[in-house]
Structure formats: structure tokens, C-alpha cells
């Protein structure tokens, strides 16, 4: 029968006389003082800092207080036995990874199985030799060291993850703010000039897109239209696209180009926006609609997304085989000219609308888009654009576009509709 020590005596430390292991602590929990002190003496000679406790309750308090590297606990004890102590440890998240060696007088397989099932990591016979004690203690401490290393790695990862989540939140807020800015650059749908109606849809691929467009009065007599594509994706492309929008602002064009002729605009843009060292550049379609005559002059610099839809006539794509901006500073550009009779529509679109792939890698393409537009010619601009987006999404069987998808429609109103609106 063991004599329980008062709590103040639990956790007695011994000086190390063997190899330098004084930083490594082992808690011995045994109600038999002779056996406990005998083993404590051996471990102390091996250089460990040894703590002692007299039963499970006392031991649990020492574990919470001292966090020993290894626990050696007797099976049979008053108040709380070894297996119960193990169960308490395993159910406590702070102590669950403690390394526990259970001491037994017997080494019956059933008893070992029960001890393992209830939370022991290893067993040690009370009759074990010094060599076996050394081996099992060292094995337990190795496991403890590995578990602590894993816990430190986990803690480091948790810490890094929290920092990353915080930084990501800041980045997301910046991206959202930038996206709102980019969105503010887009024109208001409605009537950009007397006798004209305009609508658009824009779905950037990664919150921020490199495709932007504009429809604005250029001086008293012209309506300017453009669709630009900054190659690449994300923030870099959006920043470059915003820079191009600034260049294409009517006041800036008047100052640096001296007018609103598409050839002069594209030529100057080609000079001012050379290809970057990473191979980034712009494609651009620019049109100037002369409102008194409804004559459109346009230039395409590698951009394929504009076409004219006139009732009763075949669709006319307003694209040319021209170098994109920045490929060659000496590149020359020539304008196309078209008339816009009443009811005619110009559609501008980013390649993200029609360069969509079906699951078996077939491209939707401009021809299919044109078919949708022609089939819906009697519907409103909004309905036509929505139909194009819907058909393109259905083709790729996806809810989202992989690239920026933008489409703008501008209609010269029929005379009747003008009269109707004026009424």
C-alpha cells in the first residue's frame, strides 16, 4: 500500500548526474514509493529531470503544470488508475499528444491490448532490465520529440495561414476597389447621342479584366467608340487597360492627337504603347461616327471584334489585318468607312465572347455568334447581347467565361422611334 504524497511534494526534481539530459523531464506516477524512487534514481542517473506523483489525480495535476516530455505511469493506483489517466489525457486537446508508458506487473496480451485501447503508447514491465528501461524511455522520448516537431510545424503553418488569409483579405478588398474603379470607366447605357441607343454587358474573368470599351461624344459632331484588349489577365492587364482608357479620353485625344480621326488615334497609340518586355500589348478597335451624316470611320489594330448589322444586308465585320499596337512603331493603319442607315447597329465585342471552347475542344467562333445576332435581329440590343452570352456559355457548358467577355451594341434609331421618343 502506497502512502500518497501531499501535492506540494509531487513533481520533485532531481539533479542530473549522467549525460546532459537535464532539460528532458520524465514524470513517474506510482503509488508505491519504493518502486517509484528506485526507478526515479535510475532515470536521474541517466541524466533526466525526474518528477514524481503518487496517483492519477496527482499525476494529472503535475502533467498540466509541468508538461513533461514523457510519462511513466503505474497501472494499479488508488483514486485514478493508469488507464483512466490515459483516457483523461487523450480526451484533453492540450494533453492528448502526451507520451505515456504504462507499467505493469504482468504482461498479459489482454491487459496490453486494453492499455493500448485506453490510450497508452507503450508498456514497461516492473521487472524490466536496465537496458529495456533505457530503450523504452529513449523510444518514448524520440516519439515525443517527433510529435513536438509536428506540433511546431502545425503551429507555424497555422500562423502562416492566418497571415496569408489576412493578406488575401487586403488583396481582395484592393481588387474589389480596383474593379469598381474599372467599372466606373465604362459608359452609361442609354442614349449616348441624339438618335442613338446603346447597351452593353461586361463580365471580367478574374474580377479585373484587360478588356475595356467606351462610347462617348468626341467634339460636337462625333461619337467615339472603342473596344480594347490588354493582353494577359488580372491586375497588370487592368492597369494597362485603364491607362489606354485615359489616353482615349476625348480631352486627351484633342490635346495629344489634335482631333478624333481613328487613323491618327491608333497611330499615336501605337507610338505611345510599345510592347512590354514581357510581350504584353494592346489590340484596339476605334470608330468615329460622324453624327450629321451617320458615317463611320474605323480602324482595327489586331482587334477582331466589331461588326455592322444593317437590316436587309449581310453582316459586315469591321476588322482588318493590321498589327496590334506596339508590335512595330512604324506600322501604318488605314480606315474603313461605312454608312449607318436607320435601324443599323454596330456591335463591339471582346474575343472572350466568341473564343469559347466546347468540352470536346471545338471553338464557338465568330460565325456562330453572327448567326445568333442575325437570328435575333428584331429584338432589342440587350436581348441580342444576352442571347449571345447565353449561347456562348451553353457552348462551353460553363456558368463563367474563362476570358473577359464584353459586348456593346449601338443602334441608330429608326425615324419612327425617334419621333415616338420625342413625343
Amino acid at each position: 500500500m502506497a502512502i500518497p504524497l501531499p501535492p506540494s511534494q509531487a513533481g520533485v526534481s532531481s539533479s542530473a548526474s549522467g549525460p546532459s539530459r537535464s532539460g528532458t523531464s520524465i514524470l513517474l506516477i506510482d503509488d508505491e514509493p519504493v518502486a517509484r524512487r528506485s526507478l526515479a534514481g535510475r532515470l536521474t542517473k541517466m541524466g533526466y529531470r525526474v518528477l514524481e506523483a503518487v496517483d492519477g489525480v496527482d499525476g494529472l495535476a503535475a502533467i498540466r503544470r509541468e508538461h513533461p516530455d514523457l510519462i511513466i505511469v503505474d497501472w494499479m493506483m488508488p483514486q485514478m488508475d493508469g488507464p483512466t489517466l490515459c483516457e483523461r489525457l487523450r480526451s484533453d486537446p492540450e494533453l492528448a499528444t502526451s507520451q505515456v508508458i504504462m507499467m505493469t506487473s504482468h504482461d498479459q496480451p489482454e491487459q496490453i491490448a486494453e492499455g493500448l485501447a485506453r490510450g497508452a503508447d507503450d508498456f514497461l514491465s516492473k521487472a524490466a532490465s536496465k537496458q529495456e528501461i533505457v530503450a523504452r524511455v529513449q523510444a518514448g522520448l524520440r516519439t515525443h520529440a517527433l510529435v513536438r516537431q509536428l506540433e511546431r510545424t502545425r503551429d507555424d503553418l497555422d500562423c502562416s495561414n492566418r497571415a496569408l488569409v489576412g493578406k488575401q483579405r487586403v488583396l481582395d478588398e484592393d481588387l474589389a476597389s480596383s474593379a469598381r474603379f474599372v467599372h466606373s470607366l465604362l459608359p452609361e447605357p442609354g442614349a449616348p447621342a441624339p438618335g442613338a441607343s446603346m447597351a452593353w454587358r461586361y463580365l471580367p474573368s478574374l474580377t479585373l479584366g484587360g478588356d475595356l470599351f467606351g462610347v462617348a461624344k468626341w467634339g460636337e459632331e462625333h461619337l467615339g467608340l472603342y473596344m480594347l484588349d490588354a493582353s494577359g489577365h488580372g491586375v497588370s492587364a487592368a492597369l494597362r487597360a485603364a491607362a489606354m482608357v485615359t489616353f482615349l479620353h476625348p480631352d486627351n485625344l484633342a490635346r495629344v492627337v489634335g482631333g478624333h480621326d481613328p487613323v491618327a488615334i491608333v497611330t499615336e497609340a501605337n507610338r505611345r504603347f510599345p510592347m512590354t518586355a514581357d510581350g504584353d500589348y494592346f489590340t484596339l478597335w476605334v470608330g468615329a461616327l460622324h453624327l450629321p451624316t451617320w458615317r463611320l470611320r474605323s480602324v482595327s489594330a489586331g482587334h477582331g471584334g466589331a461588326f455592322l448589322s444593317v437590316p436587309g444586308r449581310p453582316t459586315t465585320w469591321l476588322s482588318q489585318s493590321n498589327l496590334p499596337l506596339g508590335f512595330d512603331p512604324e506600322a501604318g493603319y488605314v480606315a474603313l468607312e461605312q454608312d449607318m442607315p436607320p435601324g443599323a447597329r454596330i456591335y463591339l465585342l471582346s474575343d472572350g465572347v466568341y473564343e469559347t471552347m466546347s468540352p470536346d475542344r471545338e471553338l464557338w467562333g465568330r460565325e456562330r455568334l453572327q448567326q445568333v445576332v442575325e437570328a435575333r435581329a428584331g429584338e432589342s440590343i440587350e436581348q441580342v447581347i444576352d442571347a449571345c452570352f447565353e449561347a456562348s456559355r451553353a457552348w462551353q457548358r460553363a456558368d463563367h467565361f474563362t476570358d473577359d467577355a464584353a459586348m456593346v451594341g449601338l443602334e441608330r434609331n429608326r425615324e419612327a422611334s425617334i419621333v415616338k421618343r420625342e413625343q
Binding site: S231, M275, G279, S300, G302, G304, S321, N322, F327, L363
Partner: protein, 115 residues
């Protein structure tokens, strides 16, 4: 995208398989840089098995043509598929990089597409 390199007459041919896009630009750039580091004087890009070329891929090709020109290396493109050819025509890329229908035509500079 998968890129394999082989020799054909006096040229090195890069056979491209897959899409030449923003996501694959690093692979393409590395393959061209390897050729640039060799003693090759003519690089042929075989685009027969390229299904799609986006604006980044196109820009990279223009950039590579400029870089190779500075290193006195000819760059040719052969056999682009119809849609890839359409994209290249729209950007008038033939003005910078000659496009041929075969490697023999590229080596002998015959039958290039009009710039």
C-alpha cells in the same frame, strides 16, 4: 502544352502540341531560349497541332521574333490550323514572322503567306 525539339536540314523545329496561351507562355519561352542558346540560325515553329492561340501567345511570338532577329536567328511558322491562322492574319503577324505551309518551304523560303 507539349513542345518537342528536332533538327530538320539546317533548322531546328519546335513541334507544339496544345494551346499557345497565357498559361503556357513559360514553356514556350523556355523552349525558344534553349534554341537561342544553341548555334542554330533558323528556328521553325510547327503549329500543326496548336488548337488555339490567344493574345498572350501572339504577343510572345512577336516578342520572340524581335529577340531572335537581334541574335541573327530566322524565325518561321509552319502549318497553323485554320482558326490559329485566322488569328494570326487578323494581327498581320506574317509581317513579322513568315508563315509557310511546310518545313521545306520554310527552309527554302518558298510560298510564304503575304504580309
Amino acid at each position: 502544352m507539349k513542345i518537342t525539339q528536332r533538327e530538320y536540314k539546317q533548322a531546328i523545329v519546335l513541334d507544339l502540341i496544345g494551346d499557345l496561351t497565357y498559361d503556357n507562355r513559360g514553356t514556350f519561352k523556355e523552349a525558344v531560349e534553349r534554341v537561342k542558346a544553341s548555334a542554330c540560325r533558323h528556328l521553325i515553329i510547327n503549329m500543326e497541332k496548336v488548337q488555339f492561340l490567344d493574345s498572350s501567345g501572339l504577343g510572345l511570338m512577336a516578342l520572340m521574333s524581335q529577340n531572335l532577329k537581334l541574335n541573327h536567328i530566322r524565325l518561321s511558322v509552319v502549318n497553323p490550323q485554320s482558326y490559329v491562322r485566322e488569328i494570326m492574319n487578323l494581327a498581320n503577324i506574317a509581317k513579322l514572322v513568315p508563315i509557310y505551309n511546310s518545313e521545306d518551304d520554310a527552309v527554302s523560303d518558298r510560298g510564304r503567306a503575304a504580309a
